[in-house]
């Protein structure tokens, strides 16, 4: 069967090759372990290398797949096939100038395949040297990334911000009473070793590509997230409720806060040059989402007693990643993204509410996570944490579903427009949220009738009232479920029974003002 597969793969590769002028010969695979010959072919200026010989030289394996080949080097597997300029490693693409070909029944790939594969899988670089006809493998040398450090302690939380001169790949490893930020590329350290007079952070040490954060006590728990523009890694540390001693990576977890819905992030969709959908009469989605979000923030602050944060409070561009990063940064308990819909069906109308669909998009991600999970046990530098962050919302899907249901039901009750229901979709703005999160489509701006309504205060207020009730309802249901507040007494007893002084009082929170986005978290258009 394996022979048949190999034959099939070779036939397909042979069929896919279009042969022009070519030269061929022996080249040298130059690795830190030594030199080794392999065969190459050059046609139309492109160098193709014998994949089997190069993989063997790298200590890996190559095997035919149903329609191509799978290559494993250093524990990472990539694949390439005929007629395709793209190989794949995990869910990442390796771009090649031209597709692979078959020569003498053997697969030959553009040398750039190994450049892309090794860079992603083994932090090595591959480069073709035409002068010596060598494929040179060496450690990946990226420009050193400058790191700036700031440390602050606010209300018992120690916040470390590592500001990077360029985006960088990294992982975070939990060690006994320490955390290690391990970069995949060289970093330029601001200092070697620095002690801190901080209740949670003892010292910080830069060594090679690592930053070690030594904590003051074993029960100091950490939390981390990323921000962009400029790229930053933010780590929060606090005493108590230490994370479970998971060897390997720091798993994103909701920090231990006072239970209940305390902070709500409202996300007005689009902004700046990203106008969103435009109605038949020119109304822009970004303007109406901002108007509704501002009203909603004021309403929630007054009626729900929660801290409310807007991801934007003006007509500016905020990246999708940054919106959820902001919610994570504020340790929000709820995230609601407000949008207007558009469809090619001109009379489409009504509201609909989404929460994240991972099953539609994450088959490969789950496989990658499983692979990384296994690898993490033995390889502390694995990408497990990054993958988990990427799927952070997965842990909150049940609550997100309940939240979305409350929103949709209140929207239905408030309006006579069509109920389009609760749906799931792989929406980017929901992926990284570490709290229950939903996206509401208030109405169809593409429908001229709804477009006209959407710009009126009366309709916006109606929507805001419905969304406020939805948040209040979800908050009450959630806090009842976790035992923070008592469920309402049966109707037969409520009118007659006197107030029970032993019952815990419902949290009385003073109305709070919406919190605008700090300027430092904005992306200007």
């Amino acid at each position: 069967m394996k022979r048949l597969l190999a034959l099939g793969a070779v036939l397909v590769l042979a069929a896919a090759s279009i042969v022009l002028a070519q030269t061929s010969g022996q080249a040298t695979l130059r690795t830190p372990a030594g030199d080794r010959p392999f065969t190459y072919v050059q046609q139309s200026g492109q160098v193709y290398v014998n994949a089997e010989e190069v993989v063997a030289g790298l200590g890996g394996t190559i095997a035919p797949d149903s329609s191509g080949y799978k290559v494993t080097v250093g524990g990472a597997t990539a694949a390439f096939g005929p007629d395709s300029r793209y190989g794949v490693v995990r869910d990442d693409l390796i771009e090649m100038p031209v597709p692979p070909i078959a020569v003498e029944g053997k697969p030959y790939v553009p040398w750039q395949f190994f450049q892309g594969f090794l860079a992603r899988a083994t932090s090595q670089d591959a480069a073709w040297d035409p002068a010596t006809q060598s494929l040179v493998i060496r450690p990946l040398q990226r420009d050193a990334i400058a790191v700036q450090v700031s440390v602050a302690n606010v209300q018992g939380i120690s916040k470390i911000v590592l500001t990077l001169s360029a985006p960088a790949e990294y992982s975070i490893v939990k060690e006994p009473q320490a955390y290690l930020v391990r970069f995949r590329s060289p970093v330029r350290a601001p200092f070697g070793d620095q002690p801190y007079e901080d209740p949670n952070i003892a010292r910080m040490t830069f060594a090679a590509n690592d930053v070690r954060i030594q904590l003051t006590a074993p029960d100091v728990a950490g939390d981390a997230y990323r921000l962009e523009n400029p790229p930053r890694i933010v780590l929060d540390f606090r005493k108590g409720a230490a994370l479970a001693p998971v060897p390997g990576a720091l798993v994103p977890q909701k920090p231990t806060e006072a239970p209940g819905i305390r902070t709500i992030v409202i996300d007005p969709g689009h902004g700046g040059r990203e106008v969103g959908a435009v109605g038949p009469n020119g109304l822009m989605e970004k303007d109406i989402t901002l108007a509704i979000a501002r009203k909603l923030a004021a309403s929630l602050a007054g009626k729900v007693g929660a801290r409310v944060v807007l991801t934007r409070d003006d007509d500016s561009v905020v990246s999708l990643d940054q919106r959820t990063a902001l919610a994570n940064q504020y340790k929000a308990d709820l995230f609601l993204s407000v949008h207007l819909n558009a469809a090619v069906v001109k009379d489409a109308k009504g509201s609909e509410t989404y929460f994240l669909s991972l099953e539609a998009s994450d088959e490969l991600a789950r496989k990658a996570a499983e692979t990384e999970n296994a690898a993490a046990a033995s390889d502390p530098s694995s990408d497990l944490k990054l993958i988990l962050w990427d799927l952070a919302q997965q842990a909150y899907l049940d609550e997100s579903s309940r939240f979305a249901q409350a929103i949709q039901e209140e929207m239905n009750a408030a309006t006579a427009v069509a109920n389009r229901g609760v749906k799931q979709a792989p929406f980017k703005v929901l992926v990284g949220a570490t709290m229950p999160a939903a996206l509401v489509e208030v109405g169809f701006i593409s429908n001229a009738e709804e477009e006209a309504k959407l710009q009126t205060d009366a309709f916006q207020d109606l929507m805001v009232d419905a969304l406020t009730r939805a948040v209040q309802r979800y908050k009450t249901e959630y806090e009842t479920r976790i035992g923070l507040i008592q469920p309402p007494a049966p109707a037969t007893t409520t009118t007659a029974a006197p107030a029970d002084p032993k019952l815990p009082a419902k949290p009385q929170s003073a109305p709070q003002q919406p919190v605008p986005v700090p300027a430092t978290t904005r992306t200007e258009p």
Partner: protein, 174 residues
């Protein structure tokens, strides 16, 4: 195989050789009925059968079908989802069932301003069309202008491959 034989000879000689382009399965064409998915008045994906000339090789046929989809529906019974100026720059079937579709065109490049419903349906019309017509196509990774893109219009994540969502398809077209 002609190519392989030609290359074998070339390798053996170790000299520059001129060999003709091979005739292969990608060049053999037959008329075949395909199912292209557009939006119905019920706002779900509905299949439009269409006879088109297709290469026998799936690898060569996939970009043809993707381009046929982007042309838009042939009847008024269904509606075009992608912007009219969208182009399919390339489409490739990778081992393991991932199809990479590279889209381009002025609207996608400059920023497509539409709502999440149309964006969702557009992305999944492509996913549904390719998976319905090619058994090996199990998921679709969408690129824009040759590079990974965050979204098409600010909503649907293109960071990972998309697999078919039957809930978006009319029952009769599943």
């Amino acid at each position: 195989m002609l190519a392989a034989v030609a290359l074998l000879a070339a390798v053996a000689c170790g000299k520059k050789k001129e060999t003709p382009a091979n005739l292969n399965a990608a060049n053999r064409v037959a008329v075949r009925m395909v199912r292209l998915y557009y939006e119905s008045p019920q706002m779900l994906l509905v299949a439009e059968p269409r006879n088109i000339a297709l290469p026998e090789s799936p690898a060569a046929a996939i970009p043809v079908v993707a381009r046929e989809l982007i042309k838009g529906p042939a009847t008024a019974a269904s509606l075009r989802l992608f912007p009219a100026d969208t182009v399919v720059r390339g489409a490739y079937l990778l081992p393991g069932g991932t199809v990479v579709v590279d889209l381009g065109g002025p609207t996608l490049q400059q920023g497509w301003g539409t709502g999440s419903h149309q964006e969702l349906m557009a992305a999944y019309s492509l996913v549904q069309t390719l998976s319905a017509n090619f058994a090996d196509a199990r998921r679709v990774r969408i690129l824009v202008n040759g590079s990974p893109a965050e979204t098409l219009a600010g909503h649907v994540s293109l960071a990972r491959s998309l697999t078919p969502m039957p809930v978006l398809v009319e029952p009769k077209s599943r």
